[in-house]
Symmetry: C3
Subunit: 155 residues, 3 copies
């Protein structure tokens, strides 16, 4: 099944891709590599919900963190479609770089980031299985609970 | 206008590129991709000025942080020229990975990193518009206020 | 001398490569680029030793941190061999992305990461000299003292 069909089957509406806020762009392409800028946990309304702001291990619950990671993934996919016109032009997800806004003693980083990894596989199937690095950082822009960047391979 | 000409017009002197301090190198090239190692906010004298050491949200003001990011970008460009002989061999800036040394409650990460993004566009024009990820980290080498790595595409 | 021969000469046994713990994979390949997921400081027994858990500048000594970085590098190399069948299929190490679990005042990040950089050169010789970014993060998965991802070029 194609990624565009899976998206439909999942009932997922991609949001309008967020504009870059400065002299950078949401994505660049070099040869077959598509690089998507770090995406925050903006919801479908383009806003950070209060439950997706703050630190894991403090204001943000593991469940809300996982949902924040999922939102980052949705925003990455929205950018990938804006870059290519159709998700079916994506050969595979190569890598996620995931940054979790975390209190210094919050070590359960991986389950939070799984919210993004799982969505990639939901949408892209086996082509969605990616390399990843996941770390806990001191703080993120706008206090987003999660930020994730992605590298895709184009078909 | 070429990047080398813009550099001259901006009156920017590139510093001697910083040597890697260990068993790594300032840059590697694979095909058309040039990867430049994370650069600290060293000034033209090769030193970290006191105002570019420490954390945003603590010792370092937003304005000084922005200037530190600009210095990181200048050092990235110096490495890119050392790698290629001329900035005109750069087809475009693909991606910046920006790390801001930040107190856990300092969420205005993006404006700090704009100091680097803006310089890339000042020097490379539209080819300087890049994907980026910007995060706040617990600490950086030598307590530099900012560290930025870059991916370029060669012409 | 080939990397496989150097490995033997160093008396280094590569561990069984760690399985990914979720919907991601230990590595992806695109063209000549091999991306290996962030590796933690697991020992040969697949476990994090107590001395490689926690923060540099707190529970973890600089010497133990350096050893943790070396273990990350060994695990990266184990994944690279699993990906290729033989380290001699690696043309070079392109980049390490190194994350050190650090107290906010621990600025000696570079010497810790040298534990990984040195091993890459021990095993790959000049082909092991890589670009790198090294930062201090708030926390890492399972409280590993270090996490490192790698980009390799295939022959």
């Amino acid at each position: 099944m194609s990624a565009e069909m899976r998206l439909k089957e999942l009932g997922l509406q991609l949001p309008a891709p967020a504009a870059a806020l400065a002299n950078y762009v949401p994505f660049t392409i070099s040869g077959k590599i598509l690089i998507v800028s770090g995406q925050l946990a903006f919801g479908a309304d383009g806003k950070l919900a209060p439950e997706h702001c703050g630190k894991l291990g403090a204001q943000v619950s593991p469940e809300a963190g996982r949902e924040a990671a999922r939102l980052c993934a949705i925003n990455l996919i929205a950018q990938a479609r804006a870059a290519t016109g159709s998700l079916d032009a994506i050969a595979r997800v190569l890598k996620l770089g995931a940054f979790v806004n975390a209190a210094p003693d919050f070590t359960a980083i991986a389950p939070v980031v799984n919210g993004a990894s799982d969505l990639m596989v939901d949408v892209f199937g086996d082509k969605g299985r990616h390399a990843r690095a996941a770390v806990g950082v001191a703080v993120l822009p706008l206090d987003s609970a999660v930020e994730i960047e992605a590298w895709f391979e184009l078909a």
